[in-house]
């Protein structure tokens, strides 16, 4: 279970998250929607362990263990994965080498047997099919010179290889055309299982036509102000975010 409890966080003294709570159980897909600046990406980055943020209150538990003091690589070893909104280019490091290092580092941290180059190659070939990726992409430097769509596909491909327990998708749909969106969504859907939970962060409802969530949460000003089923996303698409903001403000008053 991925549990976020009463999370408060700020960047350079500016509060971004203000008492966010959320629980993702294995097998569930949760979508977080919200207007720009509501704290969506902050949440994703804090879960993954980027240290640009200061958590002032609350905790994040993965299967009962508070991860806030853990290094990003330790979180990965516990089964967390963040698909980046802006995947980073790493010239000089091949995708293949990068992924094998990552997979083996995780296996090592878990006390499992590492994978040799041959079996890794075979394992990875299967996964490339899933994302319709060219094999030559494996030999290229990580994300270097990739198109926007290739970068996002590469993120999901990495998730497919690392097989996390909880996947956090940070605006994976932004900048994708319809075809690429479909490929990426198919990739994610293929990874859905009873043992795996997802937190899908998006600004647009469009993605949720393809990755159909079990729950939709609306994040405004650092807090979840409304939760519901997948129909909530359609309502947001039709009405925008303002009615929720108004409703929330009214409620507070």
């Amino acid at each position: 279970m991925l549990e976020i409890k009463n999370l408060y966080a700020s960047v350079e003294e500016k509060p971004i998250l203000r008492g966010l709570s959320l629980t993702v159980r294995p097998g569930e897909v949760h979508a977080i929607m919200g207007p720009n600046g509501s704290g969506k990406s902050t949440l994703a980055n804090i879960i993954a362990g980027r240290d640009d943020y200061e958590v002032t209150e609350g905790e994040i538990l993965v299967d009962g263990v508070n991860i806030l003091e853990l290094a990003p690589e330790e979180r990965a070893a516990m089964g967390l994965f963040l698909a980046f909104q802006y995947p980073v280019e790493i010239p000089g490091v091949s995708n293949m080498y990068f992924l094998r290092s990552a997979l083996n580092a995780i296996k090592k941290a878990r006390g499992e047997k590492e994978m040799d180059a041959m079996s890794f190659m075979k394992f990875v070939k299967e996964k490339t099919k899933l994302l319709h990726l060219d094999d030559n992409l494996l030999q290229r430097s990580v994300n270097e010179g990739f198109s926007g769509g290739e970068k996002k596909r590469n993120e999901i491909f990495q998730m497919a290889v690392l097989e996390p327990k909880y996947g956090v998708l940070d605006e994976t749909d932004s900048g994708l055309d319809i075809d690429a969106l479909k490929v990426v969504s198919d990739g994610v859907n293929a990874l859905r299982s009873a043992e795996r939970g997802f937190l899908v962060i998006t600004h647009y409802q469009r993605l949720l036509n393809h990755i159909v969530p079990d729950f939709v949460h609306v994040l405004v000003d650092g807090r979840i102000v409304k939760s519901g089923g997948k129909e909530l996303a359609l309502e947001l698409e039709a009405k925008g975010y303002d009615w929720i903001k108004d409703e929330t403000t009214a409620g507070v008053n």
Partner: protein, 434 residues
């Protein structure tokens, strides 16, 4: 106040009466005048423009035993030959030819690897005509010291239109506590092709001093790949000059790799003496602790329609320091020159420093000549990205540094050598970083 350009007189590098055993007679007067020139120049101080950032004070307080031969076993050189098992090899211990370690040398037709004692003679005076004429050593105190002190050296000839199938490995081993004066002359005759690897290692403890001179001639339409690998102990003072003369349509690829040494100073010079020549001059150095690595390069474009590409990459950790000085001269006649110089340094610790100075002097008007220098740290976003995938910070750092430095090693054509250098680079990064 006048700037003092006369350097300190020599007191500390003790000059022993040099042995001329077996060396050709015509070398003797050359040695004597080099000796005189060295005494005249003295050991440079930091007041010397070319030695501004490399102080030899500590070096001067050391004393070194004169070069003596030591019997080493195959085990002693196992590390040094890894990756180059297929090479034609000649081995020198403290600058003195080691027959036992060289015995398995089997030479290819048209490729001659000999010592400067020149067993078999020099019937057409090729050695005599070239030796000492390539490197412009006059202003280099240490090159003159080498010329007056070397005991032997490697003389490599690749005959006209011959392609050396296997790399030629010149291995210079220094035993701790000694001074040695490696000397090399490589002559790639017209239309020939070869890879020559000079490697420098230390066996044993003690502070050593290695003072080398390498001369290279790449004749018309020849292609020479030249790798220098210095992985001596961190108690070694290594000061060396290498100069290549590249003739028309020639290709010279120079890769200068430094992993070891307490203080390393490389002067690497290329004189382009014909049209349509191609030159690469690349370097990579990795230093930590108190290591100091100074690379001075000089390229002379004296003829038109030539190109040169130069990439130097430094990785500096701990309290190490680096110096890069890259001179490019484009002569009045050298129209259509295409010269590009890049120098990049990665500082991994707040105490590490780099002094970098490109120096371009262009006298022709129709040329492309650029230089760029960057100094930086590892990118935080890339580190976080790798960590978020499960790669521990230490390994993530090593991976990024490796990727930065490997760009130069990737160009080395010999698979065995390239992967050996890559794994040494990785090892050095992996074990040395905190």
């Amino acid at each position: 106040m006048s700037v003092e350009t006369i350097d300190r007189p020599v007191s500390l590098v003790s000059l022993h009466p040099y042995g001329n055993e077996g060396l050709p007679a015509w070398l003797i007067p050359m040695r004597a005048s080099a000796h005189a020139r060295f005494l005249e120049l003295g050991i440079p101080t930091t007041k010397h423009e070319e030695w501004k950032y490399t102080s030899l004070r500590e070096f001067e307080s050391q004393s070194f035993a004169e070069p003596t031969f030591a019997n080493l076993s195959d085990d002693d050189i196992a590390d040094a030959v890894r990756g180059l098992e297929d090479a034609q090899r000649i081995v020198f211990v403290n600058g003195i030819y080691s027959e036992p370690l060289t015995t398995r040398l089997s030479q290819e037709e048209g490729v001659e690897i000999r010592t400067l004692q020149c067993v078999g003679g020099d019937p057409s005076n090729k050695l005599k005509n070239l030796f000492g004429t390539v490197a412009r050593t006059d202003e280099f105190a240490f090159a003159n010291l080498n010329s007056s002190q070397f005991r032997s050296g490697a003389y490599v000839q690749i005959h006209r239109n011959t392609k050396a199938e296997r790399p030629i490995h010149l291995l210079f081993i220094s035993t701790g506590g000694t001074a040695s004066y490696p000397r090399v002359l490589v002559h790639a005759e017209q239309g020939s092709e070869a890879t020559v690897v000079e490697s420098y290692v230390t066996v044993g403890e003690g502070t050593s001093f290695v003072c080398g001179v390498t001369e290279v001639v790449v004749e018309a339409n020849a292609k020479l790949e030249h790798v220098k690998l210095q992985s001596e102990s961190e108690r070694s003072y290594h000061i060396a000059l290498s100069e290549a003369r590249v003739e028309g349509d020639g290709t010279y690829l120079d890769y200068n790799v430094t992993f070891g040494g307490k203080l390393t100073r490389n002067d690497r010079q290329v004189f382009i003496g014909g049209s349509n020549a191609h030159v690469r001059m690349d370097g990579v150095y990795v230093a930590d602790g108190e290591q100091h690595c100074d690379n001075h390069t000089r390229l002379d474009h004296a003829f038109p329609h030539c190109d040169s590409f130069e990439v130097y990459k430094g990785v500096l950790d701990g309290a190490s320091s680096g110096v890069f000085n890259g001179k490019i001269f484009v002569y009045l006649d050298a129209q259509k020159t295409d010269a590009k110089q890049t120098n990049q340094a990665l500082l991994l610790s707040p105490k590490a420093t780099i002094e970098t100075k490109p120096q371009l002097e262009i006298f022709a008007d129709d040329v492309k000549c650029t230089h760029g220098a960057t100094v930086g740290q590892l990118r935080e976003d890339a580190l976080f990205y790798l960590q978020s995938r499960g790669i521990p910070l230490k390994q993530a750092r090593a991976l990024l540094v490796y990727a930065f430095a490997a760009e130069v090693l990737e160009r080395i054509s010999h698979d065995g050598l390239r992967s050996e250098l890559e794994s040494r680079l990785y090892q050095k990064l992996g074990t040395d970083q905190g």
